[in-house]
Point group: C2
Chain length 252, copies 2
Amino acid sequence: MINYKIRVQYDGTRYKGWQRQKSIDQTIQGKIEVILKKQFGRDIEIDGSGRTDAGVHAMYQVANFRLHEAEAEHFGGEPEALTALLNAYLPEDIAVLETRIASERFHSRLNAVEKTYIYRIWNSGIPNVFDRKYVFQIEKKLDVEQMRQAAEPLLGTHDFAAFCGNAKMKKSTVRSIYEIRIETIGDEVRITYRGNGFLQNMVRILTGTLVEVGLGDRDAMSMTAILESKTRAQAGAMMPACGLTLWEVKYD
Amino acid sequence: MINYKIRVQYDGTRYKGWQRQKSIDQTIQGKIEVILKKQFGRDIEIDGSGRTDAGVHAMYQVANFRLHEAEAEHFGGEPEALTALLNAYLPEDIAVLETRIASERFHSRLNAVEKTYIYRIWNSGIPNVFDRKYVFQIEKKLDVEQMRQAAEPLLGTHDFAAFCGNAKMKKSTVRSIYEIRIETIGDEVRITYRGNGFLQNMVRILTGTLVEVGLGDRDAMSMTAILESKTRAQAGAMMPACGLTLWEVKYD
């Protein structure tokens, strides 16, 4: 078998997220698998580095899947030919940026060591026409300095149960965040999260909590208490999906 | 009367251009005028700095219109209130960025002294997901150096009849181009045109001609002969609207 690693970019607006669902193929994974099935005449499962929620975008999602040598011969086996083949059938809001042959044991989810997510807030009373599908608009000016202070205790390794959207989560809710960068770029407030992994809805709940601080509705010093409570109700509201983009996935 | 000057941003994809048409209001001008009519109960004509074609975008289009003092009192007369009022009713692909009170004689078309248009080419075999509505994709690599050479004789004041899309143009086809900047930004080839004004379809025909040079289908030295021919058939094909954006309009 040949193990192909692909980098996928998508505008998540029209989709029910990355992960294929039983009967609906309005997912990114489903769209790619349907093409592979038509091409190679069998079910080929692709593994993504992680599930993105409905409406969330990806700059560089990573996924992998295996083809038999004989199947690869159909398109010459060259990774570039596989990229072209997939792009020829994908809709305009999904693109394969690159295909590489990975080592036989490479697994895009299990081997991922670092992920970067970016949440984009359009902090203005004037709408953003061109990026409207990729930002979330908040009219009232955010106090970015307060947000930066609030973010500091979140860095490092913690139990992020209070920021987990899955109430029935049975596995560990401990994660490490390496960086939370809050930048202002013109009228945009852009929050970059870098960590070893993120729980379900975690980036959107972290952002919602930081936004409440930025709006003056929550004390910047309250983050440690929220973490320690391990209680979802202590954290802020979950932000809408449209502002969130999976930016990068790193491997050793 | 109070003369209001507005800066308008739009994603032209869904529209039949700037200029209102008889029975169709799927134009930018039409969308704004309908709101003004509902608000003030009479036909209020807005003048744009120029007509953008169907499908062309604008970063900063400029327009102006006049209100009676009594009408302005309805919203307090403040330009910011007018901005908010218009944005409240405009669709998400049109936004008023700013409103100012202009001098009584200000006319957005007649007083414009300089316009900037940008044509964005996505020069890659891999689709551009996020900017797909604002670029035109050309897979084959363009020879940008040849395009820059070709652009040079276009600078200055010339009769651009060969680059005019209106065969029945009765007015002067003489225009001045101050700058043609051709940049590569990653996989994008971005062409910025700055001049005192542009004829119908002129930027798209200029770009089509330069692209033919970049593809090796036309000699870089042929521009002077095209200008001198004053014949539309001598110039290249007109590029699609989607890649074109009216970027800026300047006044004295």
